[in-house]
Each structure stands twice: as C-alpha cells, then as structure tokens.
Symmetry: C2
Subunit: 248 residues, 2 copies
C-alpha cells in the first residue's frame, strides 16, 4: 500500500470557511506541513500535532518534507491557503512525485480567493472569468501582459491575485494600463482585503480609479466585464437573464 | 433592520464538501429555496424545514420567492450547487434587489466545479486560468467563441462548464475546433464526471482526442496550458518552479 499524502486547501483563513472534508483530514493527520503563516491560522485543536515548515521560497524542500514524513509512516496533510490547486503546492507535488513512487497524492479542494473575495464583493464573477497572478517570481512579466491583453479581448471578468508587494508596488498600475488599452476607464471594478480574516474590507471603483489605488499583498482585485455594474457598494456581473421582461 | 437572505454555495454535492459556514447557515434557516435537484442533495437533517422550488428556467420566480419569504419573517437560505457566485443565482438576486429595499443579501461561497474537478484530476489549474460556460442559453454563441479564442491566445489553462446537453450535443467538438485553430492537438486535457457525487470518473486525453469524446451535462472539462502534462492519469499544470536545479 502506498503512503498517502493529502494536499489540503484550507480556504481563506477562518476555520468555518474550510470544508468539513478538509477539517476531517487535518484532524486525522499526524503531521501538518505548510508555510508558517498558514500553520498559525490553525485552531488550538491542531497544536498538539507535529507541525512543520520551511522558510519562504523553500517550497521544493517543503514538498520533499511531505514525502519523507509519509515514508516514515506518518499521516501527512500539506496545507495551502485558499485552494491547494490554485497557485498552491498541488502541481509541484505532482512534479516531484516521480522520485517517490511509493507515495500517492490526493488534493482536497478549498475556497480560493476568487470565490471568497467574490462573495464579499457581491457577484463579480457570475459569468465567464479569468484568474491571473501579477507575481512575476515564477512567471515572466511578458506572459502576464499577454494574459491581461487576452482577458480584456475576451471580455472576461478578471480576478487578479498577488496584485502588489513591496518590490512590485506599481504592478497593479501597470496591469490597469494594459487593460486600459482596450477597456474603458469607467469599467466597474472592486477589491477585497483580508478575506476571511480580521479586518475584511471591500471597495468598489472604476478601472481608472483602480489604477491609482495602493493595495497590499493581502488584496484580491476584481475587474468586471462589459456587463458588470456597481450597486450599493457591490460589484455584480450579469448572468444574462432578461429581467426587463420579467412579470411584475 | 433589513430582512437578510443568504445565497449559499453548497459545493459539488457531498455534504462533506460544504464549508462549515454554509452548513451552519442552512441549519439556522427556516426556509431553503433552490432548484429541486439541489434540494434533494440535502441531508435528512434538513427535510423538516420549509423546502421550496420553482421549475427549471423559472429562476426569476425562484429569486422573487426568496425575497417574499424573507419579508414574511423567515430566515431564508437560497442554495446553488458549487459556488453561488459562479454561474449561480447571486448576480440575479442583486439585479432584482432594487424592488426589495427592505432586504439584504449575503453570499456564502462554496467549492465550484473548477476547483473540485481540478482536485480530482490532479492540478490542472495551478497557474492562471479561465472558466468558460459552453451554454448558449443566456450567452450568444459568438461571445463564447470569442472567449475561447482569447483564452487560447492567452495560453490560459481552461475550464469548460456545461460542455454538453441533449440539444447541444456537438458543442464540445465545436469548442475544441476553435481551440485547435491555435493550440496543438497534443495539448494535455482531461475531464471529470459527477464531481463529489456517486460515480465520479476522471479521464485524461489530448485535445485532438477530447474533440471526439461524448460527455454528459454532469461533466467539467479541463484544457491544459502549454506547460501542462499528464502523469499517471493526472493532469498537471506547472507553477514554474525550477525543479531541474533542485538539490537531490
């Protein structure tokens, strides 16, 4: 029998926003491995388990630690914030798995910021949408630019992850400038800070205004499509129902 | 105080894949409203509540029922499968809300098929991705075509919702043909049937083979980006880590 490793999406942070399945897997595990910040989000009931981490940027070592602990016979859960399969560790685990043929992987999905942030803002991705990360740590900026242009051309609602960091203070502005090549300044937009954690804050604005905003790294940004609108502080993307002809 | 209505994403079907928050909201509600099929997915513990529905295609009436029940003083939960904000009822509720100023809406996010299906298949959307519905019930086919072309041009991983129905038996083939204008036939793809329900089935294939598949309406389709690969029946999209230079 193979050593099974669960790669678990813990959602935005609040324990209540984890699925029951994710919670059960964590409860059943001996060892929980993850980035230190995520381990700290876990409730008291997990503090007596073996909790292991590696520093930021040492993701490959963190993955290897999972395989090695599983080989020791431990029930291993590898936690990621949001969904483990959206900019999380799921794919890297599969990439590394060829060296660990005695191990088996299972991904447990979680609520990613596109969905949890959308819920805070109203309904910004209620039609076709794109998710794009502005981090160029692992992706060439040219690829990010190409995707922004394609997303605008396709009239997708757009979700931007990692819109800013200390070293990338002007990235959101650069992204907005690319979108503004084809999208009007008045396009409905919004963003959410600290989703599912203390101090959740939402703001709606238009694309021209979004360009001028200073957002932090705990922010998820939403750009509406041509059918989006703002109402009472909510950003809403129409599904296409003909509500004008509704019976009253 | 306004009458609050919760619009709840119940995830793919299995109760364990609901968030604890969604479960609590349903438990606390007096009245649960939703499409009949979704009401039937609810566990026994909800059967004594007031469960209400309207037939298929009568979504506007279903929304109005939520507002009216809330005005009667009932605690109303409006359930959608997956995430209520992804092709769900959240935006329509916000569109209709102007006639019900005494009501207030809150969206409770759930796991949508892009994430739950991805978990079954491995890690197909582990980088920038697009979600596109092939249903032309509410969206002109020309818009869908435009978005498929844009998604291919942007080298996004792509998730297709509603890839088929009785009336739209050839839509997946038509979508593949559009992608094949620019994407190679050998592009790694996969699909999942009955996510989070009995009879979950995954299959990996390439884009040329996907074109020939017959899929049903309970299927979610994944098309990899240029960095995707298939390994041991799993579809994986690389995040961009340099694993060749990893220390061994």
């Amino acid at each position: 029998m193979k050593h099974k490793i669960y790669i678990v999406g813990m959602g935005p942070g609040a324990e209540e926003m984890m699925t029951a399945q994710a919670y059960r897997i964590l409860k059943e595990s001996d060892t929980i491995i993850g980035y230190q910040v995520y381990l700290e989000l876990l409730g008291e009931e997990f503090k007596e388990k073996e909790l292991l981490s590696t520093p930021m940027r040492q993701e490959i070592e963190r993955c290897r630690m999972c395989f090695e602990k599983a080989r020791e016979g431990k029930k291993v859960a590898f936690i990621c914030s949001g969904d483990a399969g959206v900019y999380g560790m799921a794919s890297l685990m599969y990439e590394l798995k060829d060296k660990y043929e005695d191990c088996e992987l299972e991904v447990i999905p979680g609520i990613t910021a596109a969905n949890s942030g959308a819920a805070c803002l109203g309904a910004p991705i209620n039609h076709d949408f794109c998710v794009i990360s502005l981090s160029d740590l692992l992706t060439p900026w040219e690829t990010i630019e190409k995707r922004l242009r394609a997303a605008a051309m396709g009239d997708f609602a757009i979700v931007l992850y990692n819109p800013s960091s200390k070293k990338r203070a002007d990235y959101l502005m650069r992204a907005c400038d690319i979108l503004l090549e084809t999208v009007e300044e008045t396009r409905a937009c919004g963003y959410v800070e600290n989703i599912g954690r203390e101090g959740t804050k939402t703001k709606t604005c238009n694309l021209g205004e979004l360009r001028e905003q200073t957002v932090n790294m705990f922010t998820t940004v939403f750009i509406g499509n041509s059918q989006s609108f703002i109402t009472e502080g909510k950003l809403v993307t129409k599904r296409g129902y003909d509500i004008c002809n509704r019976k009253e």
